[in-house]
Symmetry: C2
DNA sequence: ACCATTCTATAACCCTCAGTTATTTGGTGA
DNA sequence: TCACCAAATAACTGAGGGTTATAGAATGGT
């Protein structure tokens, strides 16, 4: 019925007293204001201003309407702000589920960076297996899955977020730390901490070794890179760890070296294609990619953390 | 930034699921909806719907915005309702100040009728002298003054609301009740209740009598018609009372007769011209006029109440 | 496999309405 | 009476929200 613009003009005229000043305020010409008021009066069916002595004085009705209109303007502003924030990704909910390797290492650190500029964000971080990731994504309970093994599943789309590689991690004073590049065959001659055959990382490493006719020997079997790292940190041995986990960890007393041959792997971002991917999710993936890009390859300088 | 119309269309599409049904709902064509959504997406800078399988499914962001927009629509509706009610005079504040003659008699009765169709109205009734009426009107504390003596004052404008006359009121069994018309000279031969010389009614009647070479004799002097009426009702005598007071009173056991000569008077509506007169005030004046119009003159049938 | 149906998107056109500039009218005060 | 200021009017413009007609993609029934 009566438009927001009409209420805006009405309010402004009441506020500043004359059509000319209102027009100035609103950035339009004086006749525009004059016409709009007349038009609005026709519309509502009763006078909004008394014309006397060549001036406009608002009627009680007009004052009443202008009063109410303030609430409308509030809501308008509110919505505009919300849209701004949605565009900027500064509000919303971001639910990430990651494999433990990623979720323990880089994820908390990078999320910490991410929310620094988005304090209103509501976060959810969860760790889970491949299957759990798929399930949470499919049911809409999570926005983004992070994994270093890409699932082949019709309901999720996969994006390569960053390139990394397996790094050999050892105590800083370890003999292997003297080498710039560690040959994987060396691992069989030291106390090697590795992964259960069932785990994705275990399978991946198994494949790599057997492709090169090597046997994977290790004295300790763990499930997560975080565990392996912790053991290395305590001087219990050396381990192959994905570079993402290394980036995320505190680097005291441990050295990370690229391997020969290099064992490339990728960090994958997983989103459901049953649900629309939020803006925010896209932004976080990009943020991740940007953050990890310089750490990406196996520059020799990345060795010591 | 983003218009109410855009939000309306967005919400509707989300609600009903397809552009075609939304268009139908909104009473526009399907392309109008389609274009508007595209336009809105350009405006906000992020997608509001996923186009897949030839269908639109809203993004989380769109749902969020639509959610918020509901509040806006509420306010819109609220304002439209308020305007309707202001137009219909069903909301607002009506403050009436009347001389006691009017304020005791017809005013409560008529106001009772008036608010029957306007239950949300906020009322204020006050009684006061001419001077007080002028003052309250001038200070904006009252919207409408009612009086049977028109003030000559620049700050109030006067409207004649109804015609009436002085009526001779006596107990139903009184000798004067036998006459259809009572000659005012008769009053000097019965127990006559009249008004103090200071009161407007006293002055008015004084003038009438002296114009006809009569002396106004009375055994009892009161200030208000209500008092006079009450006395008549209790058989204490007869009185001249304006017809408005008679209409307002309960008519048991009393008779009202026109006089010879007729003593015309008018009910005046007084409004300040320092402040705009509200719609509602105008309506109430009209209501009064309509209500009193049939009772107006001195038809013989109006005699017995 | 194909056709009918349903939905979105595009194209080309239209018209109302909020805006413009230029000017007039009305009121007040020096 | 003139100068000044505010509101109103007139005549015009452009953009946006609308139209019809139609194309293109996906779904479902026989």
């Amino acid at each position: 019925m009566v438009s927001a613009r009409q209420l805006e003009i009405l309010s402004t005229v009441i506020e500043v007293g004359t059509t000319a000043r209102a027009a100035e305020l609103l950035g339009v010409s004086q006749p525009a204001v004059s016409n709009m008021i007349r038009h609005t009066e026709d519309l509502v069916g009763f006078p909004l201003f008394m014309r006397e002595h060549g001036r406009l004085t608002p009627t009680k009705e007009a004052l009443h309407i202008a009063q109410e209109a303030q609430h409308l303007f509030m809501q308008q502003n509110r919505i505009d702000n919300i849209i701004d924030e949605l565009r900027g990704g500064t509000i919303g909910r971001l639910s990430v589920i990651a494999t433990p390797s990623v979720g323990h290492g880089i994820l908390p650190r990078i999320l910490g960076q991410f929310i620094k500029t988005r304090p209103k964000l509501q976060l959810s971080i969860e760790l889970g297996s491949q299957d759990e990731i798929i399930r949470k994504l499919g049911s809409g309970q999570a926005d983004l899955g992070l994994s270093i093994t890409p699932p082949r599943h019709s309901a999720v789309s996969v994006r390569e977020i960053a390139n990394g590689q397996l790094m050999c991690v050892c105590p800083a004073e370890h003999e292997l730390a003297l080498q710039e590049v560690v040959s994987i065959s060396n691992l069989n001659h030291v106390s090697h901490i590795s992964y259960a055959a069932r785990t994705p990382l275990g399978q991946m490493i198994d494949t790599l070794f057997s492709e090169r006719g090597l046997e994977r020997r290790y004295f300790c079997e763990v499930r997560h890179t975080a565990t392996a790292l912790e053991m290395v940190r305590n001087g219990l041995g050396v381990a192959l760890v994905d570079s993402f986990a290394v980036i995320g960890s505190r680097g005291e007393n441990i050295a990370a070296r690229p391997t020969k041959p290099t064992l490339p792997l990728k960090l994958y971002g997983l989103t459901s294609n049953m649900f629309p991917t939020t803006n925010l999710t896209m932004q976080f993936q990009q943020f991740l990619a940007d953050y990890l890009e310089p750490h990406g390859g196996s520059g020799p300088d990345d060795g010591d953390l």
